[in-house]
Subunit: 203 residues, 2 copies
């Protein structure tokens, strides 16, 4: 049996990484989607352990000091982070785990878990990204310009990721993610147990 | 466009790596199979550039001293090695290149070409490997025992390869090789040009 892979999934706002993941799971992709923890209050309809694990500030900080948070950030005065426990449980059972997080968190993960596989989702071009953001009709021009600047910074960081997926045709992007997961399961680091088993037999 | 991947393909005698490659190419796998150079005389029917590039000892040694041989070994007093030129030409055109070589040569390649991807083909077990060797009816027991010892040493080196393919069901092994090639084409190191192109557009 292969060990599971820890996949970090990032990409600029508007690149469609959420859609890629949704389609990945809908089309039978096998992985555990890691739920983040946060100290912000749940909104109506949100359930603990579904959208987020909702923690008090004290509980979050205790986890932080016990090294139980793999990466975290603060936003509008609240903590957001990835709890270690559920991630490692799944990996040890041989399941793949996907973390959908920002570039900064991705590098925190790489530091704590050097075996993590960093996948960056790119738009086919920055002009296509702008069209997608404009097409949403949810942000004014200033916000879009800010997002575009952020996207440019993120794309510059992409060169430090392990893999690049281009989200031009959705099905292809999903297939690429699946290919990466399959290839990672063939990595020697995930197959050490098998090598040992072969060697144990005294042929 | 992606840069091509340099795939080093090894495995113990009898693991079926030749069959995997034959089926890989027969089923549309896209890669250039690197032909080795040797100083041994061509046998009847062998053609220069097909089974081997046949070189004089002087020519081979000149290539060696000009760093035009990526890896080499000697066997029965003759040189065998991988000429650099054809390999790099193909890689630069974006083609994948497969080198079918021994473990020792694989590590020479890794030293010269750190971007090389080392794939090891494993038998499902050493007892299965022994059955396959016995089933060939071409070697006596002593030879088989020697091959089994060599296989054990090679499997121990497998942990230093990047990927492990188990050749239990041939079609699965071929599919695994194709998956590795596809995933490698998504590696950031092969897509730097694309990142640059995205960043050049002033969106």
């Amino acid at each position: 049996m292969s060990k599971g892979s820890l996949i970090v999934f990032s990409g600029p706002s508007g690149c469609g990484k959420g859609t890629v993941l949704k389609e990945f799971f809908a089309s039978g992709g096998e992985a555990f989607y890691s739920v983040s923890a946060t100290t912000r209050a749940p909104r109506p309809g949100e359930e603990d352990g579904v959208q987020y694990y909702f923690l008090t500030r004290e509980a979050f900080e205790e986890k932080l000091s016990n090294d139980e948070i793999l990466e975290h950030t603060t936003y509008c005065g609240n903590y957001y982070g990835t709890p270690r426990g559920p991630v490692y449980e799944r990996l040890e059972r041989g399941e793949n785990v996907i973390l959908e997080i920002e570039v900064e968190g991705a590098f925190q993960i790489r530091e704590k878990c050097p075996e993590a596989v960093l996948v960056f989702v790119m738009p086919p071009s920055l002009s296509e990204l702008r069209s997608r953001l404009v097409g949403r009709h949810t942000e004014d021009e200033e916000t879009i310009n800010r997002r575009m600047e952020a996207a440019r910074r993120e794309v510059q960081m992409a060169s430090q990721y392990d893999y690049i997926i281009v989200n031009d045709v959705l099905e292809e992007a999903v297939e690429e993610l699946k290919t990466i997961l399959r290839a990672e399961s063939l990595r020697t680091s995930n197959r050490k147990k098998f090598i040992d088993e072969v060697l144990q037999y005294d042929a």
